[in-house]
Amino acid sequence: MATSETGQDFTLDTAAELASEERGRGIEGKSPWFLAWRRLRRNWIGLGFLLIFVLIVAGCLLAPVYASHVSHQGVNDTNVGGTVTVNGKKIDVVSSGGVTVGANGQLTVKPGGVPIGPQWWHAGGRYVLGADSLGRDIATRILYGGENSLQVGIVSAAICAFVAIVLALLAGYYGGVLDWVITRFFDLIWAFPVILLGIALGTALAINGFHHFGINLSGSSLWIPTFVISYVYIPYLARPLRGQILSLRQTEFVEASVAQGASPLRIMFSELLPNIASSILVLFTLIVANTILTEAALSFLGAGVQPPNPSWGTLISAGQTTIVTAPWLSVAPGIAIVLTVLSLNAFGDALRDALDPRAKVRIEH
């Protein structure tokens, strides 16, 4: 590390650092993917976040198992009049309220309708994160909601990535008029605030569903928020990719391929695509983080996942009305979102550092 006399105290050239580390025999004959994996393997913080994400996904996929074996309560099962045994004592799941007279004649007023708070493991797996005002198990609902949130987030990111890659390849390879049309299409999506365009589409489609081109979706279908979110994020992924393809298009190896008489399709998929694969991987991770956040926001506002399906956004929204008496209803699903998105963002950063330390790929909001 240089001292402040040389003025380099504020430089941090990871690329150079890594290069000096990897000089010599160690990297000879190794593929870039292998080298990236080697760099990633050493970044245990990044891998730790990946593990957190995998655990969250696995937990949400096991929601039915949790419901039947741990909480013994289905996702929509209410339990208003019921009781639960905590440390051998029977407690109302939703307080019935009333006035009790204490030993010294003091009156204690207990408000009714307040659900039981987080019990952790004192109730043998029941109400680990508490109940809502209908006596439903919050932990079970968060797992089921997470299944929907993650599904919408990941599937919409996948659809978005597919469309964006195809558009970026077409625009970057052919250039000219096609490029102009495609970039103007991006500009038009970009002309709307993401959340407002999502709300407009989400609400308009939630009323009667979508019935065009032989596709029939009902208003409460999970596919509606999925498609809406994938649509609004297309330019965020396609723009940086198009830029990379435009510069790759000028390189010698593409020219050589053209000279060999390779078809445009072949050039696009076996010359250009492998060269942007690392960027796609990084951008995809970061886009999933954003689609999950957007799903939560749309569902919170009522323009995303529609009832009876739960999602993290709708759970927070439902908990907001009883925030004073039962704050855990909003807090718990929010923590689930923060953990998921944080793990994706952190892993995405680690992935970028590993795949291409000099990369400039980033998602702009």
Partner: protein, 315 residues
């Protein structure tokens, strides 16, 4: 410069026309079912539906429908059939709230975003940088509305340190205006502080390795002077672009989540109420209004750039 300006303004008008056509498509053409019934809202009566079909010429070709809808919107005649109020009038009423929220939040996020970015770049690799990096990452990973709910619950509802939501007009009491908006400002700014801090940090670190920075150091300028006079200036350019677009998005209704959580009756709140009632005309108005701000601001950013840097005008 004049030719550039005219070209840009013309481009802006074209984009706005196409954007308005997309709004028409989103609300009338893409969803299934009868558009007149959808627009009439939940409490649709047969008379209402017939009136809407006639008013928006929904039995005419698509370009007539689009023209009619825009005409109704721009003359303030488009009304919400849930409360019978003019959409443009309601948006107009929400503007002071949305502007107050956006301006304050923008000042906070720009100031702290730049501060955080510079500190973490200058101390890159050290503890303060790591701490800032982690905090910024958490900041960009938090749902705005959740942060708002938690802050409001913790600081306003449990402790009454802050007023529990609502808006006080600047003209009636500047102090109360500030006091009521402080939490919403912070809530809205957190995401952007984290984001700008991250972007600026990597920009500064990129710039610092450029030749002209080394030259400036070689000439004997102090590290601080090089950082502020040379490196920071260039690193801030992408931030200016980002800021122009983000500010426009927030102004154009992008603050809908913050307004909802804190009961600030701005433009976003109006849209939020409309979602709950499945009331489409307000959403049409707000979506178009939001797009207008973004298109206007991106044109403005382009013009300011062209004014600062003559090379851009030729492109």
């Amino acid at each position: 410069m004049l030719a550039f300006l005219l070209r840009r303004v013309f481009g802006m008008v074209v984009v706005l026309a196409v954007v308005s056509f997309i709004v028409y498509l989103v609300f009338v053409k893409i969803p299934g079912g009868d558009p007149a019934q959808r627009i009439a809202g939940r409490t649709a009566t047969q008379a209402n539906i017939v009136a809407i079909r006639d008013k928006l010429s929904l039995d005419q070709p698509f370009y007539v429908q689009w023209y009619k809808m825009m005409q109704q919107l721009f003359t303030g005649k488009l009304i919400s059939y849930t409360d019978q109020l003019s959409v443009v009038g309601q948006i107009w009423q929400g503007l002071p709230v949305t502007f107050s929220l956006s301006l304050g939040a923008a000042v906070i996020w720009l100031f702290f975003g730049v501060l955080v970015g510079v500190i973490s770049a200058v101390t890159a690799g050290r503890l303060s940088d790591r701490l800032i990096t982690v905090l910024a990452l958490i900041g960009v990973s938090m749902p705005v509305f959740w942060l708002g709910i938690i802050l409001r619950y913790g600081l306003a509802e449990r402790n009454s340190l802050f007023p529990d939501g609502g808006y006080v007009a600047l003209t009636s009491s500047p102090l109360q205006w500030f006091y009521h908006l402080l939490l919403p400002w912070v809530t809205l700014a957190v995401l952007f502080i984290g984001f700008y801090g991250r972007v600026l940090r990597s920009n500064i670190l990129d710039t610092i390795n450029e030749d002209y920075v080394r030259t400036a150091r070689a000439k004997g300028l102090s590290a601080r002077r090089v950082l502020i006079k040379h490196a920071l200036r260039n690193s801030l350019i992408p931030i200016v672009t980002l800021f122009g677009l983000d500010f426009a998005a927030v102004l154009g209704g992008g603050a809908i989540l913050t307004e909802t959580v804190y009961d600030l009756h701005g433009v976003g709140f109006y849209a939020r109420t409309a979602i709950g009632n499945l009331d489409l005309p307000p959403l049409m108005g707000v979506t178009l209004y939001g797009a207008f701000f973004i298109v206007f601001f991106s044109t403005l950013v382009d013009v300011v750039y062209a004014w600062l840097d003559p090379r851009i005008r030729v492109r």
